[in-house]
Point group: C2
């Protein structure tokens, strides 16, 4: 694998997009990296890029990995990556950090994580932030998936930093979502539990050699039962205990993922999920464009005048919002 620094906007204007796509399809990591940089920077060529990639996409399995901070998501990703490589599968990893627009630390992290796979073309690891793209990560991640998919990666892992609204949305982009938990995290898990159970296709209790792992697994099973998620007609997310740092339980996780993949195929849920992913991307793009229009108006004198009338009770936030909406669409 190779890592290139992000080209600046403008310097890539002369790029031959069809040639770059061909190079990416040929498995050239430099081409893949340059295409993802285009997505991050919001290049004008993104619509054309989507059309070039789309006929070659739709083959990769997308695996989402999420969970609270400190549970060992990166360690789990790395362990799965190693096991999948041993099974001969090509694996791309997108590490998503919605909370930070600064990619400096992430790039350093990429280099460290890729060290082990430095000469392996079957592995591509990349941290993603968005600088220019309208719609933010919710629009950029599907486009990056399209690149890795067309580049022939069998599995693309989307790893997110924590469990928040943005992470939940990104998890919805996956075919199979792993939620990683660990004992001893206290209130965080309780707070996140409703959201976690809603999105998890496989539940991983990592650091299973620590006290409390059994309790976490039992609590999760009880919560699933209470929510009617153990109905034999549906998919009951398996709960797998791991010690990812030692590779323990990783085969069981892969078996659970395979089981989910078969379930998706058998029920026709797979295509529906991909349809949902495309819909989410389009919505994020449309809302991004509308938001840009609204924020432009917010900088105007007229907006300031209307806002100044609120404390007197002469107008209200709802009336100004209606004006913003109408003016944006003019």
């Amino acid at each position: 694998v190779t890592r290139v620094s992000s080209p600046r906007r403008g310097r890539i204007g002369a790029v031959d997009l069809p040639a770059l796509v061909e190079q990416a399809r040929d498995g050239q990591p430099l081409a893949v990296a340059r295409l993802i940089s285009l997505v991050e920077n919001g290049a004008d060529s993104l619509p054309a890029l989507a059309r070039l990639l789309e006929p070659h996409a739709g083959r990769a399995d997308v695996l989402g990995i999420t969970g609270p901070p400190g549970v060992g998501k990166s360690t789990t990703t790395d362990a799965l990556l190693r096991a999948l490589r041993q099974a001969g599968r090509r694996v791309g990893v997108l590490a998503i950090d919605p909370s930070s627009p600064f990619s400096g630390g992430a790039l350093l992290g990429d280099r460290i994580r890729m060290g082990e796979h430095a000469t392996d073309r079957g592995v591509f690891i990349r941290s993603m932030a968005t600088r220019g793209q309208l719609g933010g990560l919710a629009a950029a991640v599907p486009q990056a998936l399209r690149i890795l998919d067309a580049a022939g990666f069998d599995i693309v892992i989307i790893e997110t930093v924590g469990v928040g609204q943005a992470e939940l949305e990104i998890a919805h982009l996956a075919d199979t979502t792993l939620v990683v938990l660990a004992p001893g995290l206290g209130d965080g898990i309780q707070a996140a539990k409703a959201g976690i159970l809603e999105i998890a296709d496989v539940l991983v209790v990592n650091k299973a050699d620590r006290d409390g792992a059994h309790d976490v697994a039992r609590d999760l099973r009880q919560a699933q039962a209470m929510r009617g998620q153990l109905d034999p007609a549906g998919w009951a997310a398996p709960i797998v205990k791991t010690v990812a740092a030692r590779g323990e339980g990783v085969d069981e996780v892969l078996t659970a993922i395979d089981g989910h993949r078969r379930w998706l195929a058998g029920t026709g849920t797979g295509p529906r999920r991909r349809q949902a992913r495309l819909t989410a991307e389009v919505i994020a793009l449309a809302l991004g464009q509308l938001e840009a229009g609204v924020r432009e108006l917010v900088g105007t004198e007229e907006f300031a005048c209307r806002l100044a009338d609120v404390p007197m009770g002469r107008t209200d936030p709802y009336a100004i919002a209606a004006w913003l909406r109408a003016a944006t669409t003019d």
Copy 2:
């Protein structure tokens, strides 16, 4: 304090809004609770409510409390609440859970937390979710603040569940934002640090009796220095160590908050923050309306037809987004 269950939409249609606002201004907790329920449920009367409240608002200090899960945010809120009551100040608390649309657990939590203050009209604690309001919590929280402000609470504490994008936005609604951390949280703090330092007016290192508290404080100070946040011309967020469960350090936190309030007053930053809060509310409302329009179109046959053309490369997500945008504004 009194807690009423949320009235359903429709059952509150006959409400005499000016009378309810007068009762809230008179400090009647039932009226305050009913008004906040109106906000949660997205009643049609919200614009009128904003106009009735606004002339009586603008007095309360808004204190945001955020931080990663497990650091003791609720404990810190409760300790501050107790200390502020002893100082004779009326305190409202809004506990925000952006990740969960289900308020069942939150309501139970309210009852437990309010037990201590059950007969005290100077305290009002409420968990908030949004069911109906356009713009979600980013629009609903400012309206709820307006209610508590007009009801004469001197301080309104907004407590959020974790550090994610939504929580960061909500923290921006506050005059003073406390970020609570604790030793032993590992990667979570590292990942969130950039965002934390950007929003923190006061940094609280809770559970300071544990190993590593000194290191957390030192790391934060170094990170502040690296980001140029110790410039004497600006506000350097004080770092206060607490053991909130035993009330230790709480007075120092209040002193730090007072210092920040004086700085806001001295630099004219206070009115600018309130202006920013109103702007954020209006933007959230406008984007909420636009999003509702987009989602309506997403349900149409025409959208499905356009989407089906993407895998063939006949159209692309960007073109469909442009169509959505134009059609929404028709």
